[in-house]
């Protein structure tokens, strides 16, 4: 039995790696995504323009503006003169944030009264605007703190912030673990679904079915090459993450690969199930696309899972990628142990069991 499966596996790997176009298709997307994703998928706020409409001529507003213009988030300072210019700056997206100092700003600050600075933000980019506002707020706090300290009359309080696992809130540390999960998903799904549908289109699938191989053995023979390819690609990403992007690998590699096998098994279940429904490659491609897109979008990679409404969160429980991203991140950057990993691993086991059973049933049904 084992030699038969081995023959099938060798044949599958040959089919995948035989021609140049096939090899390119396995390698190029990985390299391309590895080169673009970590730089492009960022929600950080950098290199923005801060615009100021200063109706005050005093020293206090001048100092505060000086401090603001030195912040990392704002590389350019735009000085506005009128309400009309303010409107144009926001409308035309020349500035993300406009601070408007009232005419009596310096007078009120020196007198110790309370003043408000109007902050006009571009709601078309409200997430970035809120983060930029946070930076402006921190600078303002620093300024007020220094004033209070100079007066040395009332004691104050400060805030010390520690971002665990990622002290500078680098987006790359979030992206690379997600990319490990993403690439595994894309390659497993396309290898498995397309290899089955190609055989169906060419009519060789029926030949496989009449051979001494049982449906179970065919499934294993199709699953193992996908598993090997996906794990090889994941290894490339992990290596690049550690050696190129310099993200320290905190946890245990053994745990990572162990969990990866179960994740890929869950995916193989989905892939085989989809391909058993499809007759042609085109249908299989569309089927895989219709599965992968929601799976990726709802995985916690583009936006945090907990922001979803409860009904969708419940539905998303069946999305294996969502659990696997938590696992990869946990091992890669948080070094969590098996006890905590288990809460994300058991859903994967359940999903794998369900989808593999369904796929096996579909395979057998075709035989009858």
């Amino acid at each position: 039995m084992l030699p038969r499966i081995a023959t099938l596996i060798i044949k599958e790997l040959q089919a995948l790696l035989r021609d140049r176009q096939g090899r390119m298709l396995l390698i190029m997307p990985v390299l391309l995504q590895l080169a673009v994703f970590p730089f492009a998928s960022t929600l950080e706020v950098k290199n923005n323009t801060l615009a100021v409409l200063n109706e005050d001529a005093g020293a206090e507003s001048f100092e505060l503006i000086q401090r603001l213009s030195q912040a990392r988030a704002f590389t350019r300072l735009l000085t506005l003169r009128s309400q009309a210019e303010l409107r144009r700056a926001i409308d035309g997206q020349a500035a993300l944030l406009v601070l408007r100092f009232p005419a009596d700003f310096s007078r009120n600050v020196t007198a110790g009264r309370s003043v408000a600075i109007q902050a006009v933000l571009d709601g078309r980019r409200s997430n970035s605007a809120q983060i930029a506002l946070g930076y402006a707020r921190q600078i303002l706090e620093g300024y007020l703190d220094d004033r209070r300290a100079a007066q040395a009359r009332v004691s104050t309080s400060t805030i010390l912030v520690r971002h665990w696992f990622n002290p500078n809130l680098d987006y790359v540390r979030h992206i690379i673990p997600c990319l490990v999960a993403l690439i595994t998903t894309i390659s497993t799904m396309s290898v498995i679904a397309l290899s089955v549908s190609r055989e169906k289109e060419q009519g060789t699938f029926d030949q496989l079915l009449v051979s001494p191989l049982t449906p179970g053995m065919i499934m294993v023979g199709k699953a193992i090459p996908a598993l090997l390819v996906a794990m090889a690609q994941a290894t490339v990403i992990v290596l690049a993450g550690v050696f190129v992007y310099r993200i320290p690998f905190q946890g245990s590699l053994l745990l990572l690969y162990g969990c990866m096998i179960f994740y890929i098994l869950a995916l193989i279940g989905f892939g085989l199930f989809i391909s058993s429904l499809c007759a042609t490659q085109q249908q299989a491609f569309l089927g895989v696309f219709s599965f992968m897109m929601p799976a990726i979008l709802l995985s916690g990679f583009p936006s945090p899972v907990e922001n979803m409404p409860p009904w969708l969160l419940w539905l998303d429980w069946f999305n294996p990628l969502r659990h696997f991203i938590v696992i990869v991140k946990g091992i890669f950057i948080k070094d969590v142990g098996p006890a905590i990993l288990w809460q994300s691993l058991w859903p994967l086991l359940v999903i794998a069991l369900l989808t593999l059973t369904a796929a096996n049933w579909m395979f057998r049904r075709r035989l009858e």
């Binding site: 176009q21 298709l25 997307p29 673009v36 730089f39 492009a40 998928s41 960022t42 929600l43 706020v45 950098k46 409308d91 035309g92 997206q93 601070l99 009120n108 020196t110 110790g112 309370s114 003043v115 408000a116 600075i117 109007q118 709601g123 409200s126 997430n127 983060i131 506002l133 707020r137 706090e141 300024y143 007020l144 004033r147 300290a149 007066q151 009332v154 004691s155 104050t156 309080s157 805030i159 010390l160 912030v161 971002h163 665990w164 696992f165 990622n166 809130l169 979030h174 397309l194 085109q282 569309l286 929601p294 936006s303 945090p304 907990e306 922001n307 409404p309 938590v326 948080k334 905590i340």
Partner: protein, 390 residues
């Protein structure tokens, strides 16, 4: 006479193409069902707004001052605070992802507060594995903390005014409070959905425009019907138009379906005009269809055409268009590449159309580029088609 014959041929080809679209369940799926599902996923599944961020709090100091600070945290509409007894308890909750950050009020907090000139530190710990959320945890806690400071300053100011034992000239002015009053234009409640949905329509249009058409010409080559077509009196322009027009109609219909679902079902405001939407949408569809046809003509193989469309159209539309990620934070090389991605201009135009209305300053620039991109891709396809005929 020649023109009339040409029009008749074009009509016949368009009819054939339309019948093929309507007959194939998978293209119906892509054109009508997938957009609605995707829009609902984008509408409800992708959100950068954090309703009730879960954070932890350890009060190692239980003085009235510390309790007052805790009260301001509990009063924050953005935070859901749970208290714990020890730091270790919260560190574990953070590892498990049950909280996204926590605040520690150290034991000597109120003592330090009472000593003039001293600063009493508070410690915020966030989960850096979720960088965007970590930013919001910090910001929301700072906001609550500011409120508490202001309240304290107001009380202290009142008590110091009458009782300070200093001579008037030595007495410094009271400490000012300066606050930031945010006004979000176009999107007063700062909901990320209001700009993510218009942007996501771009992704959906790319799928319909590029992915679907990438299969079309390749399919004719694979099935051998392309040779038959080329042998007929059909001209290059007629052939191209017959591939473009039916899919253009399909794309425009699903664009309006998407906008309809976004406005009436999800409740995103739309402030532009339908006419401008149609104009911008047509220009973008032109570029997406053109790219799809080009890939299809060049590869002549459905599988490779689809893979190429995925990498050349779909991924850039998601990552480099600025619909979710910040173009300004990307390194210069990648920022330069985004200028070549048609989706980038459509995202800007859609966000402006939905939230700000017909702002010509923004729209004209986008429309100009989209027109150039459409002309380029369609011309390239025409060029490649001729080469095959010879």
């Amino acid at each position: 006479m020649n023109l009339r014959a040409s029009l008749r041929r074009l009509k016949a080809l368009c009819k054939k193409e339309t019948l093929q679209i309507l007959r194939d369940p998978s293209s119906n799926l892509i054109a009508f069902v997938l957009p609605v599902i995707m829009l609902l996923i984008f509408g409800y599944g992708i959100s950068l707004d954090t309703p009730g961020l879960r954070i932890g709090l350890v009060l190692e100091d239980s003085s009235p001052e510390a309790r007052l600070f805790a009260a301001s945290l509990f009063g924050s509409p953005y935070l859901r605070v749970q208290t714990a007894r020890t730091r270790a308890e919260l560190a574990d909750a953070l590892l498990r992802g049950r909280v996204r950050g926590f605040v520690i009020v150290p034991p000597d907090f109120s003592q330090q507060l009472e000593r003039p000139g001293d600063t009493a530190p508070l410690l915020i710990v966030t989960d850096g594995a979720e960088p965007n959320t970590a930013n919001f945890v910090e910001n929301y806690i700072r906001m609550a903390w500011e409120g508490w400071l202001e309240q304290r300053a107001a009380e202290h100011g009142a008590s110091l005014e009458d009782g300070a034992g200093l001579s008037p000239e030595k007495r410094p002015a009271p400490a000012p409070t300066v606050t930031l009053e945010p006004r979000f234009w176009f999107n007063p409640s700062a909901e990320s959905r209001n700009y993510l949905i218009p942007g996501s329509i771009t992704v959906i249009m790319t799928v319909i425009g590029a992915l679907l058409t990438s299969l079309v010409v390749a399919r004719e080559w694979e099935r051998g019907t392309m040779e038959t077509l080329l042998a007929s009196p059909v001209t290059r322009a007629e052939l191209l138009l017959s591939k473009l027009l039916p899919y253009y109609a399909l794309g425009i219909i699903s664009l309006f379906i998407c906008v309809g679902v976004a406005v009436f079902l999800v409740g995103v405001p739309f402030r532009g005009s339908a006419l401008v939407l149609w104009l911008v949408g047509s220009l973008f569809l032109g570029s997406a269809l053109g790219l799809g046809l080009l890939l299809s003509t060049v590869t002549r193989n459905q599988f490779y055409a689809a893979q190429a469309a995925l990498n050349a159209a779909f991924l850039p539309a998601v990552i480099l268009s600025g619909f979710i990620y910040e173009i300004r934070s990307m390194p210069p090389v990648i920022r330069a590449v985004t200028y070549l991605v048609p989706a980038r201009y459509f995202v800007t135009a859609m966000q402006t159309l939905f939230q700000a209305g017909d702002l010509w300053a923004v729209l004209l620039k986008s429309m100009l580029f989209l027109a150039i991109a459409s002309a380029f891709f369609i011309a390239m396809t025409a060029l490649k088609t001729r080469k095959r005929i010879e």
